[in-house]
Symmetry: C2
Subunit: 188 residues, 2 copies
């Protein structure tokens, strides 16, 4: 029996991604978000949603670029910190000890220590209620070489990304393999 919980933002899984941006003075910033996802295959695009109040909102509006940095679970404390502190008050890179690297493709920094980064150029912004969607065209995906599988593709178990569980406000790792897509449903 299903229980009605009312209108609210709830879905599983949600990501924990860190958005890299520069402010007007060129100070690099990282902000953790869970509202976002891939939104188009051609051109490859990802969407992230931010409230106007957030420091990163102004940064991206100004620079029209951002990076999506996918953390490993080993960086969970920094990810959580990036989601609670504001770049308006502190230098989050300095405080966390992580390293900003200037993208050579877009006007935004990425996080050296994280295993995967998407370098994104804003192609649309779209206001919905209290959030604004930034649609970023993915100009490149960079992955740490030791996180690739033998087939040269990123290996999710080596990347060890974080899952955000909303409402409970907890982070989880990726667990066991269920099976192959485009395969396990073939007998239905």
């Amino acid at each position: 029996m299903k229980k009605s919980l009312g209108p609210q933002t709830m879905a599983y899984p949600l990501p924990a991604w860190c958005v890299g941006s520069y402010d007007r003075e060129g100070k690099p910033n990282a902000a953790t978000i869970a509202w976002g996802g891939i939104c188009c295959s051609k051109p490859p695009c990802i969407t992230i949603s931010l409230q106007e109040i957030r420091y990163t909102y102004s940064n991206i509006m100004e620079r029209q670029a951002f990076t999506v940095n996918i953390p490993s679970a080993e960086y969970a404390a920094a990810v959580d910190y990036f989601g609670t502190a504001s770049g308006r008050n502190v230098d989050k890179f300095q405080e966390s000890g992580l390293t900003p690297i200037a993208s050579d493709l877009v006007d935004a920094p990425y996080i050296k220590e994280f295993p995967v980064v998407l370098e994104c150029q804003v192609i649309h912004t779209y206001k919905i209620g209290i959030h604004t969607q930034f649609i970023g065209e993915i100009l490149d995906v960079k992955v740490e070489e030791d996180r690739l599988g033998e087939d040269g593709k990123p290996d999710i178990t080596k990347i060890d990304p974080m899952i955000y569980s909303t409402k409970a406000r907890t982070y989880y790792r990726v667990g066991e393999l269920i099976g192959k897509a485009y395969f396990i449903g073939r007998h239905i």
Copy 2:
């Protein structure tokens, strides 16, 4: 050292969600997607992206409503089937043995057996390249009572949702708890 993999759709984690819709004749359909995410807190909204070619695209354009059904790993074969077969050719509910329930809030069916459903009214559509984003306002979230924790909130470990690993084309379960959000970063 990071390796450049070029512009492509890659991010971790991605969801495996089944979108419920009715066609013109009222036949219920379910289609699996990985391109989507929460996009606004107020009003609570979720976005899903579909290509025009997909049967579900026409259904939602016509009815301006859809459901997002979050599966448990136990339904992985049906989820995979919903992502490969087309409602244009078959009755996917009939073939899979799952049960469509008419939402009483929106003009779309949801999947009885899945633990979580979001009932969504389309408030915007937005074309980006080959995909169209459907922004759905979440009018209600319904969760199976036995998937709630003792605090009355959905328990991600009981929901046991599926994670889609793109490129490798595999499904994973949620794994171990990393820690509490808004907490584990407090010492930075």
